[in-house]
């Protein structure tokens, strides 16, 4: 049957088989032992022609409640932010999205330069010296930071605060098990890492301490105090950070972090049911040669023109194989590009304004909920998320909210039994005053 992606005609086929010197395509498969040759039809769903397929996929998509037609107060690691239209126009340029890793720098200068610019923007936001070209996502970047720390310090224990995203902690556990590292979780008190408990856990076997800033509850961890405790024991200080928040908050790099990781999803990347997003990985100069993944560096060509290449590749799997600093190969380059475009579009002023609007709108929402008689827990400063206590279940509340076109917050009872009936509420710049007021009315009225 003819197919629009398959240009080989019957005549082509005949000529090609002649050149090869066989009579049929079947002969080219003769090296597959007969006993494992697949006979019959693959049990794959049937072919749909383009118009049918569009209709079918549209129907599937329409079965999902989306965050464009509904006002979302759900965050917990993935946020509903404004995405400038230019982002999609840039990443839809096929020179970018149909290319692969820039192995041939002479015809990949566009991608290489875009990554170089991305690395620069991440350094600027995090206050770190070196950033790589991207990781799969924030949580796997955090797990790799744990492996780097263990390798660097030759110690076997990772301490993670319970105020780090629960799914990130789950990912860390899996990676650590692979490397025979132990993971110890430290409780949170009043929504931030319990410093006394942390001190008790610190010892000479501690490779690193991982905290999140702003943390899973939206609270700002006391990084200066944490840094002191961590470095007293010559452990590495690893901070997972929402890069948008760093548009307004003091960056971890200015507070002694050794490794800063996170996810760029807030910059130009739609939620897409959780992926692909875009991890970033930033370190101090000292750790430059230990970084996982690809790095782009500036250099010159034979005639002195400025250009960019993949560099310090002796760290990577294709050179070092089992001794590589990581097994990562494909990364999230296109999303790193999307984030770069979003950061450039917002620019210096816009990133700051957007970050500030998040704080201000979250502050407004929290105050209004308190005025409506709701209990908010944790009294520290926060970025764009905070925790409220409901009288009933979060699930029921969310059902009720959905009827008003609102996607409610995250049910903290799923991960923290002591916080059942507590909702984590995210308020981004995308939420209007009217939407916030409706949310307050619905949630507050039920109490």
């Amino acid at each position: 049957m003819k197919h629009r992606y398959l240009p080989t005609t019957e005549r082509d086929k005949k000529e090609m088989l002649e050149t090869i010197g066989v009579n049929s395509i079947e002969e080219l498969f003769a090296d597959i032992p007969e006993s494992v040759r697949f006979k019959g039809d693959l049990k794959v769903e049937k072919q749909l022609f383009e118009p049918e397929l569009i209709r079918y996929m549209s129907k599937l998509a329409r079965k999902n409640v989306n965050t464009i037609e509904n006002a979302s107060f759900l965050g917990a690691g993935v946020y509903d932010h404004a995405i400038p239209s230019v982002v999609d126009h840039v990443i839809r340029r096929s020179e970018f999205y149909t290319a692969y890793t820039p192995y041939q720098p002479e015809i990949s200068q566009g991608e290489l330069q875009a990554i170089f610019e991305f690395q620069t923007m991440i350094c600027e936001l995090t206050g770190m010296d070196v950033a790589n070209s991207s990781m799969y996502d924030g949580p796997t970047a955090l797990a790799e930071a744990g492996l780097l720390s263990a390798g660097q310090t030759k110690k076997k224990k990772i301490i993670v605060s319970k105020s780090v995203h629960p799914e990130a902690r789950a990912v860390i556990d899996t990676y650590a098990r692979g490397q025979h590292l132990s993971v110890v979780e430290v409780d949170a008190v009043n929504g931030v890492t319990d410093l006394d408990k942390l001190k008790e856990e610190m010892d000479d076997e501690t490779a690193c301490v991982m905290v999140q800033y702003p943390n899973f509850f939206g609270q700002l961890e006391p990084l200066p105090e944490l840094e002191e405790i961590v470095h007293q024991h010559k452990s590495m200080f690893v901070v997972s950070s929402n890069p948008l928040a760093l548009g307004r908050l003091t960056p971890p790099g200015d507070m002694g972090a050794d490794i800063v990781v996170g996810d760029c999803q807030p910059f130009g990347i739609p939620a897409q049911y959780g992926g692909p997003h875009c991890g970033y990985f930033a370190v101090t100069k000292k750790l430059m040669r230990k970084v996982p993944g690809r790095l782009v560096g500036e250099t010159k060509d034979e005639v002195g023109q400025r250009g960019y290449v993949l560099t310090l590749q002796a760290r990577e799997q294709h050179i070092r194989r089992d001794k590589a600093t990581s097994n990562i190969c494909s990364n999230q380059a296109l999303n790193a590009l999307a984030s770069s475009v979003a950061m450039s579009a917002l620019g210096k002023e816009g990133v700051r304004t957007m970050a500030e609007q998040n704080i201000k709108k979250a502050y407004y929402a929290k105050s209004q909920l308190e005025n409506a008689g709701l209990t908010t827990v944790f009294d520290g400063v926060y970025f764009n998320e905070f925790v409220i206590k409901l009288n009933g279940s979060v699930k029921e509340m969310n059902q009720k909210l959905l009827n008003k076109g609102i996607i409610g917050g995250y049910d903290l009872g799923r991960d923290y039994p002591e916080l059942s009936n507590h909702m984590l509420v995210a308020v981004t710049e995308n939420r209007t005053k009217e939407e916030i007021d409706t949310f307050v009315k619905e949630v507050g009225g039920a109490q």
């Binding site: 599937l60 999902n64 759900l74 126009h89 566009g110 307004r248 560099t311 097994n327």
Partner: protein
């Protein structure tokens, strides 16, 4: 502003006061953040991000895109990467709000369409691979490899088998295979290839023992050759108590012709960004689903997507699971594209894909075999390897020939991989290329082989037509400049 001929960085276009966004004015009461934020959190030194207008931004990135070669720009026979055409309908579908704008922590009842898509994709991948179950959680091939190895480890440990510390990989294996073995806590042991380019059974028998956790194999292998002793190999590994791991990077060769599950493989990963048209994105994102046989199902990453009556939900109650390998449920956006592609092709279409991919590769191999050294002469599958040994004697390296191809608008093949073939060039045309394209490319490569004999400088000094000449990689690594710094 950059005043010489160099392509400007976006930072060099920046002028204070320019913007290219349109955030609405704050519509809630203002808050003085300098007052509200404690001093230690109140950022003093602002990040130096660019300040450009929207048109400046578009011109900048358009200029960058023109300095980049993609599949839509021209032929891209980068072996092992399956640089096939990226269908445009996939891009449209992935952007439907019901796919692009849904939050991973929404209540399951509100995302039934997404779950249905994922479930169907899993079922289709089960059918293509002949495995029993598939997880969509891994983000890429390497991530899938590590996930699969972690499951194999969990399986051995559940059997009280704690001493299986070794993973065997062929010398022709991709670098991620040994690297993933290390990350999963194993020691990578190399098995040699024989003169036919496939795993040497005698050497395999030598390295396999009671410590063997698994053998990782790409089949067809990275030389584009089918491991025809696969049944014996499976027998050797299984009788030693090990598991067989299938690196599915080369699935494009055998859809509908053979299935890893039928060859005795216990675990498989697929690269949906290769065989199943996920665009390569300049390096990613990909998607690396993993399929397993029944005895490994308990160890799948959690949560596991299940269908009950007509509804879909995630099962978190998986006591033997290796845990999470990724937040949420994998690279959903890439999975939507792969599913759209599978539905575009259907079962017959997928089979034709592999047939044509193999036809194209064999055709090119035969057209090029006399001018170069063909280390393995049997029919290949979807890709093949030639060596530039002859040209090297003339002072022209494979790297030079690759650079010369740039002058003709081609992305060169993969070079110097696999590492067991000297001066190698690994060519993968894919099924989406026409015979004319293959012929033109072969003509050029034959011309270059002739140039190597008659006029080697033109090859040695290539490229001549690109926006930039060969770059000084040594200095780049010795004195790394990894970010822009204002002069």
């Amino acid at each position: 502003m950059n005043t010489n001929q160099d392509q400007s960085l976006i930072f060099e276009l920046s002028e204070p006061g320019r913007i290219s966004y349109s955030l609405p004015e704050l519509d809630v009461p203002d808050l003085d953040l300098n007052e509200w934020l404690p001093e230690e959190f109140n950022r003093q030194k602002e990040p130096e991000l660019p300040e450009v207008s929207e048109l400046q931004l578009m011109r900048h990135y358009t200029a960058l895109s023109k300095r980049n070669h993609g599949v839509d720009s021209g032929f891209y026979p980068l072996g092992s990467c399956t640089m096939k055409y990226n269908p445009k309908i996939n891009e449209d579908v992935a952007r439907y709000p019901g796919f692009s704008s849904i939050h991973p922590l929404q209540e399951e009842e509100t995302v039934q369409g997404a779950l249905e898509m994922m479930y169907n994709l899993q079922e289709n991948l089960v059918a293509v691979t002949g495995m029993d179950e598939v997880t969509l959680q891994p983000a890429a091939g390497a991530h899938g490899e590590w996930t699969g190895l972690m499951m194999i480890r969990a399986f051995h440990e559940a059997n009280g088998d704690f001493n299986r510390t070794k993973v065997i990989v062929p010398d022709s294996a991709h670098g991620t295979n040994p690297a993933s073995a290390t990350v999963a806590g194993f020691e990578a042991v190399t098995v040699k290839s024989n003169e036919k380019g496939i795993v040497d059974l005698e050497d395999l028998k030598r390295v396999v023992d009671k410590d063997t956790a698994a053998l990782m194999l790409t089949n067809p292998n990275t030389l584009g050759l089918f491991e025809e002793d696969i049944i014996e190999m499976a027998e050797i590994i299984h009788s030693a108590g090990g598991k067989l791991y299938y690196d599915g990077a080369n699935m494009n060769a055998i859809m509908g012709a053979a299935r890893p599950g039928d060859m005795g493989f216990d675990v498989v990963h697929l690269n949906l960004h290769k065989t199943f048209t996920g665009p390569h994105g300049g390096g990613g994102p990909g998607s690396g689903p993993v399929g397993v046989k029944a005895d490994l199902v308990p160890y799948l990453p959690k949560p596991v997507l299940v269908k009950e009556d007509a509804a879909y939900r995630f099962d978190y109650d998986r006591p033997d699971s290796i845990g999470r390998v990724k937040p949420y449920y994998g690279n959903f956006g890439i999975n939507v594209r792969a599913y759209t592609y599978i539905r575009t092709m259907g079962p017959d279409g997928l089979k034709q894909v592999s047939e044509n991919a193999v036809l194209n590769a064999n055709y090119m191999m035969r057209r090029l075999q006399d001018a170069f050294v063909l280390p393995y002469t049997q029919h290949c599958k979807h890709e093949f390897v030639i060596s530039g040994k002859k040209q090297k004697k003339l002072g022209v390296r494979t790297l030079d020939m690759a650079k010369r191809l740039l002058d003709f608008g081609y992305h060169p093949p993969t070079i110097y991989f696999p590492i067991n073939v000297e001066e190698c060039m690994m060519i993968e045309p894919t099924e989406t290329e026409s015979k004319e394209t293959l012929d033109e490319f072969c003509d050029r490569l034959l011309q270059i082989a002739k140039e190597a004999e008659e006029n080697p400088e033109v090859v040695q000094e290539a490229p001549h037509t690109t926006v930039i000449k060969r770059l000084d990689e040594t200095t780049a690594a010795r004195k790394p400049i990894l970010r822009y710094q204002k002069a």
